[in-house]
Symmetry: C2
Subunit: 371 residues, 2 copies
Amino acid sequence: MNIGVLGAGQLGRMLALAGYPLGNRFTFLDTTGKPSAGIGEVIIDPDNQHLAEFLANVDVVTYEFEHLPVTLVREIEKHKPVYPGSRAIEVCQNRVEEKALFDRLNIPTPAYRVVQSAEQLEAAARELGCPVVAKSVTEGYDGKSQTVLKAPEQAREAWASINHTQLIVEAFVDFVREVSMIAVRGRDGEVKFYPMAENQHVDGILRYSIAPLPDLAAAVQQTADNYIRALLDELDYVGVLALELFQTRDGKLLANEMAPRVHNSGHWTMNGAVTSQFENHLRAVQGLPLGETQAIAPTCMVNVIGREPQSAEVLQLENAHLHRYDKSERAGRKLAHINLVAKNHAELLKKVQTCAALLPDAPAPVFHFVP
Amino acid sequence: MNIGVLGAGQLGRMLALAGYPLGNRFTFLDTTGKPSAGIGEVIIDPDNQHLAEFLANVDVVTYEFEHLPVTLVREIEKHKPVYPGSRAIEVCQNRVEEKALFDRLNIPTPAYRVVQSAEQLEAAARELGCPVVAKSVTEGYDGKSQTVLKAPEQAREAWASINHTQLIVEAFVDFVREVSMIAVRGRDGEVKFYPMAENQHVDGILRYSIAPLPDLAAAVQQTADNYIRALLDELDYVGVLALELFQTRDGKLLANEMAPRVHNSGHWTMNGAVTSQFENHLRAVQGLPLGETQAIAPTCMVNVIGREPQSAEVLQLENAHLHRYDKSERAGRKLAHINLVAKNHAELLKKVQTCAALLPDAPAPVFHFVP
């Protein structure tokens, strides 16, 4: 089966690496003119001239990036199956629709307001109580279209800096940690859940994900499973869905946002789970049975951002798995990740510290749980 | 680093899949005109016209097939590092040199004779006692150039059927099982050993490999480690080496043959060991630290020969990992393998039975150990 992938970055690359063993071939449609997947056939198509060629090549279409024109995805759906479908893209690329869906499914979120002017932003900030986070409704990706207001008086400046016609303003949550759920749903509706990961972001960029969590009550995992299952079923979703949440001091979960694709906070599954998120996404989109999602051992994903470490130093670490994306160095760019696997969480934390010291400019890893 | 691979079959394909995450790129030189690797750049060169182009592309050269002209490998060595070196190829593609090396390093082998005529073959068969195995000295691969003599009188027929100028005749060994050692040696001389696997061949083709072995005395593994280390050190070897052995009733090991490359009986390491043989081979040839070789869990590699099963049926098995080679079906052809991982050997054997039933024409799995 030839899998068409919209987008040709590292997520597409890792999909291909997981799919070749299943006998798949890959054709990427890159609209940016800067593909980095490095394997498979890449059709570079910044002006939408090669869609027919792409469609002729592929049996089923998926994507590694959800900020695509919905019209394009709908057009593709007329010719080939697209998983996850355009409805998932539509919801996930629009924070207002996303929040409305969370509300409708009784998935708690931080308190929020939708605003359409600097004045409304200032009023919302006052009402919710600062600090608040203001986010553009569309095109947000990895924290590049959001800002924190420490006081309502910053509204005008924030409004100008984000420069969108509509913003979502969210109350700041006094969370103890950021977590995420990765789940996968097959064409037949079967759902499998990965154990929840704890994530550490710095400046809006994911730096560390660790799973499974030694201090996670089974009931909390169950609640997260229920939330993401509700989303998957409601969207008649096929493939991997990621849901980022905040966990509060009393253990409660608040949904932050979701991504209709394989997700950076699920990269630990490549070495830490029985079946990786990439393989499970591909199994789902081509109607194959889903693979088991349980963890093999405590695992930490360490992102390599902006500058690469010496491979030889990283590979000297025991049970360390390097995943480079074959990209050139640039500040803030995701270049690679390292999966560290250990017998127990105490050993894992030590290993993460050692690894972080090998990475140029890596922030100190800080996790909520105590091993 | 761009890795040049001589040969473009499934072993090259799996090297590439292991090397992309290390940031490698791959250029294959295919002299057969029928490459099947399916990924990376393939230079099809049946007439040796494109060697300069290949060499210009690559930083280091390795191979997935040792029956290469030694003159070609020596020529390449003048321009780029080749790992393992031409001396390893020379020894491994010639059974007389291989046996001589085993003898020199005090690695026991079945009793053998070198013969150069049908008459000498008959005499050797009489002397060693039938049955004996007659093998061509060169170009042997997967049992295609060997035959069993049940009586000395079959010498003339056997000589004609193998049709080589020189044969090795080996006494039949009353072995209880076939086993193999996979080890890797770095550029700096560091050596790591995988746990020994038990292999089941049918008609000269590997069908099942299982590792680690629950009934293997530590002393036997240690002996095998010593044997393969002696070979690696003697050849100043860099990369993965495979050594096939017979284990006799009293636990003794007799070397059968070796292969200077990643090996089918090491495919279980892709899902059953901390670092796969493919990644370790690539780490070695580019001078990176070697990864750990210990097993994660009992694992069985099941070869898919000639005809493919339904992927959906295979993937329904718990902790089953499918590795297809994207080749068309043909009798006797290696098309894929399935790695089955289990909590213990009893569960593993059940799973192997279930899996074998899904494969067209698969022989019944029979292992020596009792779980």
